[in-house]
């Protein structure tokens, strides 16, 4: 019926224009389109013909007006024709519509009749249906009831079948099913337990479940079941209202038995290695005893041999880690899975199982770890050989690393910190062992040096005496060589020990970043405990040489004393600071606690050196004094014959002094002596003039440590001691005429040779004068020998 909107013109723009105008006509204002308010718009609604015309007339020329007029006329004509077409079309449509309405009027009449008929039929149907439903009502109720009964019966059947089903499950070992079935029935049974039949079922179920629980427990207790099985068991048992605490205990005791087995394995190994260890030790001990010919090789290598013949510590720790620690971790993990992290619902949650279980776990882990630690510590203590430290460090590292797993699993546990403690203790112990090994090494090297000194070819005294003061430079090591080799030995050993100890602080070792290893280990342990202690030990043992040797009358060879003193002096000047700097650099020591300063150590070394040197002077002085004393005491000076020769003992004295001079000169460079008077050996000395001249016997201590002054002061000391002894001995005797003359000859001889060794030759003169003077004083018939004769005798001798 919208045919009015379809104009015959097919032109789209024209049609739209028509369309819009129609709309305008019908008042359907097209929205969105801005209405043109221009009165000159011929199509706009506000068109004012007057204005338009005026406008045209004003704007356009006549021609244009003519054109416009013709155009407008044309438009008006086309519009008229359009109008006519539309009116016609509408008329046609209107007629056909009237026809259609008429036709419809007839049809509706027919339909009305049919509708009446339908409503009558429907009424009949309604009545019918009401009738039917009234008859079916009873049966429906019955069916509903029956279906209710049916479901109940099915439930009952489940209940009645439950024991059998449980039994079957039990047979099939489908424990989980059984438990879930029982759980479903449990409440009902509980509720209806007053009824005998249900009671029976409940009892049956109870018995069966009891049995099941028994089986589960059995399984739980059985060693063979895997962790997964176990956890399943535990879960089921928990669901069966088994007390969780008991389960924890059982689980733990079960785990404990397995871990104990691991530990026993470890212990057995420990005992094995112990047995082999002592065996090895025995072999070691008998070895040097059986062939004492080569003590140097056995003695030097001995402390650095690893005596463990059995499994080494790395293997042991490996085994411990792989077996015990990993099992422990497994146990902890599964335990936590079961008891702690397991989400509990209902009444289980209220029992605070996690807390209780956690407590138990901690106790369990602690006790087992304590046993493990004690084993490990025993094993570490076995590790006495100081040869290869890397093995121990690696073992400790592994040990420590594996314990970190426990700390991850069990955050609050003290086990890892205890493990760290053990590592720290082991490190401390290690340092002690290294110190004692160093000490043994030092002693052994000294023994070697002593033997080298005792070797006959090296006796510098003999060699130099025969060679007239020239040192024998043959293949055997001389004193300086011994000194350098000794100090190199010690230094190298110390360095290697430092390197070994340094392993403890290596970057890739897990425990190296623990505070102990960063701070205390470096400063207190290595620097103080090892290096400083060792240096102190050297000084102390050197000092001991001074003390022990005094009583036993020179059990220490004097050359060794000299060597040690030079060693100590070297330590003072350079080695100590070198070692300490090396240590500090290697270990990046940060001194939190006060440490021994280098100067203190140097002072100690210096003191030791001085003491040794003084002792050397004393010992050598004593040897010569002894000679002189015996020679004076054993002679009958009253009845001696006229002197023809210098006594042999005086030559010996000069020889020995020369050899000492050479010996000391080997280690300490010769100092500059006082310019000697050229005639000093020819100096005459009168018997009487000197007797009143008093010269104080000053203590013979050497305080100057510059090498220049040292050699001279050592020899001055020795000569002073010897001549003083000579004097005292002379004073105890009574001389005859020739006795005095012999003393004169002897003294002149000494005069000729000894002046060159001392810093101040006057000292020798004074002492010799004193001797001759005392002898003259103690002479019954003092008639001194002619100086020229003395000179002749001395020159001849």
């Amino acid at each position: 019926m919208s045919s009015a909107t379809t104009p015959p013109d097919s032109d789209p723009t024209g049609r739209r224009q028509v369309h819009s105008m129609l709309k305008l006509y019908y008042g359907m204002n097209e929205e969105g389109k801005v209405e043109s308010l221009d009165p000159c718009d011929i199509n706009g609604p506000h068109f004012d013909p007057e204005v338009y015309l005026n406008k045209l007339r004003k704007e356009c020329s006549l021609g244009e007006l003519m054109d416009h007029e013709s155009c407008t006329v044309k438009q008006i004509r086309s519009l008229d024709s359009d109008m006519q077409t539309l009116v016609y079309e509408n008329y046609n449509k209107f007629i056909s519509a009237t026809d259609t309405i008429r036709k419809m009027k007839n049809d509706f009449k027919k339909m009305e009749d049919e509708m009446d008929c339908l409503s009558a039929n429907m009424a009949a149907i309604t009545e019918f249906s009401a009738h039917i439903s009234g008859t079916l009502q009873d049966q429906h109720a019955q069916i509903t009831k029956l279906s209710g009964v049916h479901t109940l019966l099915r439930k009952l059947q489940f209940l009645f079948e439950l024991p059998a089903r449980l039994n079957k499950c039990l047979e099939l070992q489908a424990y989980a099913q059984a438990v879930s079935a029982h759980r479903r029935a449990r409440c009902v049974l509980q509720q209806y337990s007053h009824m005998p039949s249900f009671r029976g079922i409940q009892d049956d179920c109870h018995v069966i479940m009891e049995q099941l629980a028994q089986q589960l427990r059995q399984k739980f207790r059985d060693g063979g079941s895997s962790a997964k099985d176990l956890s399943e068991c535990v879960e089921l048992l928990l669901q069966l209202d088994e007390p969780a605490e008991e389960l924890c205990d059982k689980f733990l005791s079960h785990a404990q038995s397995r871990l104990e087995a691991d530990l026993q394995g470890l212990e057995a190994e420990l005992i094995d290695s112990l047995v082999t260890d002592t065996g090895g030790g025995l072999v070691q001990k008998t070895n040097p005893g059986s062939n004492p010919v080569s003590p140097s090789s056995s003695s030097t290598t001995n402390p650095f041999l690893s005596p463990t013949a059995g499994t080494d510590i790395l293997e042991f720790i490996d085994r411990g880690c792989n077996e015990f620690v990993s099992n422990l971790c497994l146990v902890i993990a599964s335990y936590q899975e079961l008891f702690i992290n397991h989400p509990q619902e209902g009444e289980l949650a209220s029992k605070k199982i996690p807390e209780m279980a956690n407590g138990k776990l901690h106790v369990f882990v602690d006790t087992l770890a304590a046993r493990y630690f004690s084993l490990v510590e025993r094993r570490i203590q076995e590790e006495k050989g100081v040869g290869d430290n890397s093995l121990l460090v690696r073992a400790l590292d592994r040990f420590h690393r594996r314990l970190q797993a426990i700390s991850k699993l069990l955050p609050g546990s003290a086990v890892p910190s205890q493990g760290t403690e053990i590592v720290v203790r082991a490190a401390r112990e290690r340092i002690k062992q290294y110190l004692s090994a160093l000490q043994t090494f030092y002693h052994d090297s000294l023994t070697d040096v002593r033997q080298a000194l005792a070797a006959p070819r090296l006796s510098v005294g003999g060699a130099s005496a025969s060679g007239g003061g020239a040192t024998s430079k043959d293949a055997t090591p001389s004193l300086p060589e011994l000194l350098t080799s000794l100090s190199n030995f010690i230094l190298n050993q110390l360095k290697s020990v430092l390197a070994s100890v340094h392993l403890f602080t290596a970057k890739d070792i897990t425990f190296s970043n623990k505070p102990y290893f960063k701070g205390e280990f470096c400063s207190q342990g290595v620097r103080e405990g090892l290096v400083v202690s060792f240096i102190k030990f050297i000084c102390q043992s050197s000092r001991q040489y001074c003390e022990s040797a005094g009583d036993r009358g020179g059990s220490t060879p004097p050359a060794l004393l000299l060597l040690l003193s030079r060693l100590c002096l070297d330590y003072e000047t350079s080695t100590i600071s070198y070692i300490l700097t090396l240590t500090d650099e290697q270990f990046l020591v940060q001194h939190h606690t006060p440490v021994t300063p280098v100067t203190a150590l140097c002072a100690e070394a210096r003191e030791a050196a001085q003491k040794l040197l003084n002792h050397y002077v004393k010992v050598q002085g004593l040897i010569i004094s002894q000679m002189l004393r015996k020679s004076v005491e054993t002679r009958d000076w009253v009845n001696t014959i006229e002197p023809r020769n210098v006594r042999a003992v005086m030559k010996r004295v000069v020889e020995d002094t020369t050899s000492i001079d050479v010996q000391v000169g080997l280690l300490y460079e010769e100092g500059v002596r006082k310019a000697h008077s050229s005639d000093s050996s020819k100096r005459t000395f009168s018997v009487y003039s000197s007797s009143r001249q008093q010269i104080r016997y000053a203590p013979i201590l050497i305080h100057t440590f510059t090498c220049a002054a040292l050699l001279v002061s050592v020899l001055t000391g020795i000569i002073k001691i010897s001549l003083k002894t000579f004097l005292e001995c002379v004073r105890l005797r009574t001389f005859g005429r020739y006795g005095l003359q012999q003393i004169q000859v002897d003294c002149h001889y000494l005069q000729m040779y000894l002046w060159r060794f001392v810093s101040d030759e006057n000292l020798v003169h004074f002492l010799l004068d004193e001797i001759v003077g005392s002898a003259a004083h103690r002479c019954l018939d003092p008639s001194p020998m002619e100086q020229s004769v003395i000179e002749v005798i001395c020159e001849r001798g």
């Binding site: 009358g553 009253v638 009845n639 016997y697 005292e728 004073r731 005859g736 004083h777």
Partner: protein
């Protein structure tokens, strides 16, 4: 408190022998014997006047020979023994004799000391301790605190116990012992122990110290190599019966407990040459005096091994009565072993040191050049010990 300066007395001869007059308990008196081969030897009796710090001397002539050792009788202050060397037929022999000082020496000396030296009196010989069969005598020891009837002489390797009879005019050997061994053994020093009823003797030969029981004349202990070299002197601790000090050529002074002879109880090494003499103070055995040929005398305080390791516990009769209150006020910490003083007045070797028998705080030392120095224990220490 200023300590008194030492008093020095010079003899004109060299001297080695010094003794305190043991029987004299009132006057401070020392006896020195000179040693001269060419001139007549003398015995100087030196009285020290403590109050005026003065020395009175009297000189007696000892014409038998140079004196090596001298020792006074504990019972009679006029009696003394000397060991002197006698040269005969170009042989030197050291003999021993008992002498009596002439009775007038005491009165004469006080009036004009100068005169007495000009006109010396001679000692009266009581008897010889005849040793022609035994060789040179090293020293003569009186029985400590005895009645002056028994002496021991050490001659070469013999120990001879003499009984003096008839007012010491006759000497007979009552018993003797001989030290046997390799080589030429010779006693160098000895000491009669004041303990055990005077039945023990200690001797030194070479580096060994031996103990003897005088009843059986047998050796009871022997400290082999007690010193590194010759042992020069011995002394018994007057208050501790098993303690003994020794000194020797190794410049050391050692303290021994004769019950444990393997190790010395203590060892001092302060001298730089031979130590010739060691003496315990008679009353305060922590005070020890040593003389050495480094010409020094050292006074040490060995508290730790003395009979009074915790200070003076028993009240001293003279001083404590007045000052008892003070004594308690002073909180005394025990003294430590230490060197109290080193005396360097001597210029030659010091061969003898002696405590005075009368004054326990006074001692004398004698050096070879004949210088006798009398010193006192420093007052500070004296009061420390007493209070």
């Amino acid at each position: 408190m200023e300590d008194d300066a030492p008093v020095i007395y010079g003899l004109e001869f060299q001297a080695r022998a010094l003794t305190a007059q043991t029987a004299e308990t009132d006057a401070i008196r020392f006896v020195v014997g000179t040693q001269s081969l060419k001139f007549d030897n003398q015995i100087h009796i030196i009285d020290f006047d403590d109050e005026n710090n003065m020395i009175n001397k009297s000189v007696l002539l000892h014409d038998a020979g140079e004196i090596w050792h001298i020792s006074g009788s504990p019972a009679d202050k006029a009696v003394l023994t000397t060991c002197y060397s006698k040269t005969s037929e170009s042989r030197v022999l050291t003999c021993a004799a008992v002498w009596r000082m002439p009775p007038e020496w005491e009165s004469g000396s006080h009036e004009s000391p100068d005169d007495s030296s000009n006109n010396p009196q001679t000692l009266e010989l009581l008897c010889h301790l005849d040793n022609t069969t035994h060789g040179s005598v090293a020293c003569v020891l009186w029985e400590p605190m005895g009645d002056g009837k028994r002496v021991i002489s050490l001659a070469e390797n013999h120990v001879l116990l003499w009984d003096l009879q008839e007012s010491s005019t006759k000497a007979t050997i009552s018993s003797s012992a001989t030290l046997e061994g390799k080589g030429q053994l010779k006693f160098t020093a000895g000491k009669w122990s004041p303990h055990h009823n005077s039945t023990q003797l200690a001797t030194a030969n070479d580096t060994a110290i031996r103990g003897w029981d005088l009843r059986s004349m047998s050796q009871i202990y022997c400290i082999e190599s007690a010193h590194g070299q010759l042992v020069r002197d011995l002394d018994f601790n007057p208050n501790k019966q098993y303690y003994l000090a020794s000194c020797g050529d190794d410049c050391k002074v050692k303290f021994w407990d004769v019950r444990h002879i393997n190790e010395p109880v203590k060892c001092l090494e302060e001298h730089s040459h031979w130590v010739w003499s060691v003496r315990y103070n008679h009353s305060h055995d922590q005070l020890l005096l040593t003389g050495s040929s480094d010409s020094r005398v050292i006074l040490s305080n060995m508290v730790s091994i003395s009979s009074e390791p915790f200070g003076h516990l028993v009240d001293d009769d003279e001083l404590s009565d007045n000052e008892e209150s003070q004594q308690e006020d002073k909180g005394k910490e025990p003294l430590r072993d230490s060197i109290i003083a080193t005396y360097e007045e001597h210029e030659d070797s010091v061969y003898a040191v002696e405590w005075s028998a009368a004054d326990p705080w006074l001692f004398a030392s004698l050096s070879y050049d004949g210088r006798l120095v009398i010193n006192r224990v420093p007052r500070a220490l004296k009061y420390r010990i007493l209070l």
